[in-house]
């Protein structure tokens, strides 16, 4: 077992390799039971009486470690010394990663795991005592300290090369490992065959720059990051989880502001005018224009016009001009009202409406009236021969089954100031939802890419 509960690192000792006599530096000479000769790659076991025996032959490492053996760094409040470097791969697959064994004189071992340039600080219950409470029950989810960890992968780890010293027989150890992720954390359950209980380890994604700074190493030596790490935190998720909680508050705020605006500038009716209109016999389809009574606006307001006419199988078009009586400034609106109905093939149908709404924005305070110029369809529409079977085109009245009204009689115009403008509310809400939607979409894409490396992806795989 690693030497722990000390106040500083133990003194290093040199031992000679029993095979090649190369001097090997041990940084925890009391605690390390195994080491690898950097010259001949012998895997040496120190027996109880400190006799060094060559137990196995280790394969040489493929890559030079970024953190040198013996280098010391302060990380997460602990002094760590790098005492081992292990290259591993997944049994039966090509996935390979590297582990740097870190020794702390108070707690023992932890490590940095590096895969495709993604670094994770991994430690067991010595550093995270709550891990000791967890049990391996084959879950697909694990709840640990307010986070839900989701099953990401299962594999058997194989050691392919190593240097340094260790307090256990790591060379031919093949732990069955299960990973659960809750970025930036990751939980590992390692089950070594012939051992009863799995061991839990907690990993936390670590930026290479932080490690380089802690161990005074040149960041340029660190491998380039490839793809998305299993527990790499997503900046999009961070933004989304910050924003989505605010959405109900924002909707409420908009509603309060809207009602507050209605309270400060309440809706009120400025004109309610009904007029019997007369045909202008000199012009086809036109009626005599007329002028409504004047009305006053006390302050700048939006105006809502509701124009109603009881057209029946006919249309009416009204050009309504809002005129400021002081300076003749005007706003002209032309609205059509169409309403058709009938029976076709035994089924009744109708289309159009007998009213139209018009919204005017920011009409200045002042005295106004309306000039109205109505026009309507032919008042001599007659019933067609019912024996004809003419199929009506869209927008054309079905003269086979319908008869136009003979006289359009009355136009009713109702004008309200400061109407509640729901469009403003919905437009504002849509604008405010754009960024959260974008963030959610980016987060989802990021997560889909992360889970492409997993056999347990909750996202549908694309062919």
């Amino acid at each position: 077992m690693a030497t722990i509960n000390l106040r500083s690192f133990p003194y290093a000792e040199d031992v000679a390799c029993p095979k090649c006599k190369q001097q090997i530096t041990l940084y925890d000479p009391e605690g390390s039971e195994y080491c690898v000769c950097i010259s001949c790659s012998s895997f040496i076991h120190f027996t109880n009486n400190d006799t060094a025996l060559i137990q196995k032959q280790a394969d040489p490492i493929d890559q030079q470690p970024v953190l040198k053996l013996g280098s010391v760094g302060m990380f997460k409040g602990y002094q760590f010394k790098v005492i081992g470097y292990v290259e591993k791969k997944e049994q039966g697959a090509s996935y390979a990663w590297r582990e740097y064994i870190l020794y702390n004189y108070e707690k023992g071992y932890a490590n940095f795991a590096e895969y495709d340039g993604h670094w994770t600080f991994v430690a067991g219950k010595e550093f995270y005592p709550a891990l000791g409470e967890l049990k391996n029950r084959g879950w697909t989810f694990i709840n640990y300290e307010e986070n839900e960890y989701t099953l990401f992968s299962k594999y058997t780890a194989v050691t392919t090369g190593l240097i340094g010293e260790f307090d256990w027989d790591i060379l031919f150890e093949r732990p069955k490992t299960t990973e659960f992720v809750a970025p930036p954390q990751i939980l590992y359950i390692e089950h070594v065959p012939n051992q009863t209980a799995g061991q839990f380890y907690l990993g936390e994604y670590t930026e290479p720059a932080v490690i380089a700074d802690a161990f005074k190493t040149d960041i340029k030596l660190f491998p380039e990051r490839v793809g998305i790490g299993a527990n790499q935190p997503s900046v999009h998720a961070k933004r989304w989880f910050a924003i989505y909680k605010l959405i109900p508050v924002i909707v409420l705020l908009l509603a309060v502001v809207g009602f507050g605006g209605s309270f400060i500038s309440p809706e009120y009716q400025v004109l309610d005018n009904s007029r019997n209109i007369e045909r202008d016999t000199t012009k086809a389809n036109e009626f005599k224009p007329y002028i409504t009574p004047s009305f006053e606006l006390n302050k700048q307001s939006a105006l809502n016009f509701k124009i109603q006419c009881a057209v029946d199988n006919n249309w009416l078009e009204a050009t309504v001009v809002l005129v400021n009586e002081k300076n003749n400034q005007s706003w002209e609106v032309t609205e059509s009202i169409e309403y058709y109905h009938g029976v076709e093939g035994g089924e009744s149908w109708s289309e159009g409406s007998q009213e139209a709404d018009v919204l005017l924005s920011a009409i200045p305070a002042g005295k106004y009236h309306l000039n109205v110029y109505p026009a309507a369809g032919d008042n001599n529409i007659k019933a067609a021969d019912p024996t004809l079977n003419i199929i009506p085109e869209p927008g054309i009245p079905n003269i086979n089954t319908s008869v136009g009204d003979i006289n359009v009689k009355t136009i009713h115009i109702n004008v309200t100031a400061n109407p509640i403008i729901w469009k403003n509310f919905w437009v504002s809400l849509s604008l405010l939802c754009l960024y959260p939607l974008y963030t959610w979409w980016r987060m989802r894409n990021y997560e889909k890419r992360r889970w492409m490396n997993s056999d347990y992806s909750p996202y549908e795989t694309e062919e």
Partner: protein
């Protein structure tokens, strides 16, 4: 809560701008979209602005 606000600070500034303009519009009768068929006249009381192309009828 402070962390949430910090992470969403740029969005919150945008929210304040939108809600602020929404409140200003609600009080001053500004519709983000008025009816598309509305045309304002181009000349009144010797004002020679050139918006709009239609003929107008005046009292």
């Amino acid at each position: 809560m402070m962390k949430t606000i910090k992470d969403a600070r740029y969005y919150l500034i945008f929210v304040l701008l939108v809600v602020g303009y929404y409140a200003y519009s609600a009080i001053n009768g500004i519709a983000f979209w008025e009816s598309s068929s509305v045309t304002r006249n181009t000349e009144y009381n010797n004002n020679t602005r050139t918006r709009g192309v239609h003929a107008f009828y005046h009292k």
